[in-house]
């Protein structure tokens, strides 16, 4: 026998279920008057610094069907690469930028959409810059534990080629699953839960 470490175990995850909107985006589902606004529905205001972009996409299951009941959250740095978080020690992020967005998939088309700004570069642990990226977290009915991934930008080929996280992907053809396709101000990022084009998900 040894001494006890007295560690607790993380609470096990459970699916967000089909009714996640009731708790997380109640106004979206028509439960109005409880919360003023849905959390994460506005990431920018009129004074946010940075290049305005729209991130949109859909989530596909292993049979190619679009999920219409998912909830997507994103977290990203501001235009200077700083996170609006108390844990950020390198400087103070843009006070007009939330960094956090939450969006329910459209109940008919399955599209999610975020009005945001393009993030700057933040450093990896070894000090190397990471290419601009947006962290994604996806929950839905049938997903037992939230799925983590990242979206990078198609107009950042040089930075992407030097990114220390993308460099870890052994099967190089899968890197493309993490690249949002930029067309003007719109960046399209489709997520595939399974199949030939399965998105690279992270154990973070």
């Amino acid at each position: 026998m040894t001494q006890d470490l007295y560690r607790l175990k993380e609470s096990p995850s459970q699916t967000a279920g089909p009714y996640v909107h009731i708790g997380c985006t109640p106004n979206f589902i028509g439960i109005e008057g409880v919360f003023d606004t849905d959390l994460g529905s506005a990431m920018v205001d009129g004074e946010t610094v940075g290049e305005r972009i729209t991130i949109t996409g859909r989530i596909f299951d292993g049979a190619g069907a679009v999920l219409t009941d998912a909830m997507v959250e994103i977290w990203q740095a501001d235009a200077a690469g700083l996170y609006p978080s108390p844990q950020e020690q390198r400087g103070t992020a843009d006070p007009h930028f939330a960094g956090f967005g939450r969006c329910a998939s459209d109940s008919k088309t399955g599209h999610f959409m975020f009005e945001t700004i393009k993030p700057g570069q933040a450093p990896f642990k070894d000090g190397q810059p990471m290419a601009p990226h947006v962290t994604f977290w996806i929950v839905a009915r049938g997903i037992n534990i939230g799925l983590s991934t990242r979206m990078y930008f198609s107009d950042e080929e040089t930075a992407n080629a030097a990114d220390p996280v993308l460099a870890r992907i052994e099967h190089r053809a899968r890197v493309d699953t993490l690249i949002g396709r930029r067309d003007g101000d719109v960046v399209t990022f489709d997520i595939h839960l399974q199949g030939e084009n399965e998105t690279v998900f992270f154990d973070i």
Partner: protein, 249 residues
Amino acid sequence: MSDQTNLPPAHGSFYQRDRNWHPPAYAPQYKTSILRSPQKALLSLDNSISEMTGPVFGHNILGDLDDDLIHNFAEPGEAAIGPRIIVHGRILDEDGRGIPDVLVEFWQANAGGRYRHKKETYLAPLDPNFGGCGRTITAADGSYRFRTVQPGPYPWPNGVNDWRPAHIHFSLFGNGFAQRLITQMYFEGDPLIPICPILTTIRSQDAINQLIAPLDMNNTIPMDTLAYKFDMVLRGRRSTYFENRTEGN
């Protein structure tokens, strides 16, 4: 080092998630998981600043009735129908420390087992005075509490006769995005717990037990409200005392 030993390690990476403690992504008894579970290996990633930071929400977002589901959707002078309960507990990290400023969101069916949602088809009636959502933020010691009605169990399309035990959904934000967690709370003594196709995707009985809230008679209000105690644990953080580089440098 002696003057630092009581400081919380604010900026270390999070302890590795024990994925054998969580339910697996692919769990055929829960049919929807079959086509919604990634099948390729997850890419292991030491936390970078993108995962160690996260949004923190202030009390300014909270309304007066956000922690009172009995009244937050009810007409003036009315109240939701059902057994009145208090749910309370602490949000802790894996080292047992309370985590302050955690946004705790919760949602549930009404006392008849019916959700207020357009995709809901169960024949149990809606309660016109019950919406089913609430939220709060943990105090300095990680504690939280709210008032609601006990939700009912309900049938769902999986097997031909599968029922969910009564439960409340919880969504938690820690102080890093890597701590993000959604889970469910179940009620002590519910006979549907051992046959729930979702809950029993968790392999360990000890892990299942971690999601079952006991009746807490000492926190009841006599002649008024029962109480259940439900603690939740988010990932802990490494200290950075002996690292030769601080994060972000």
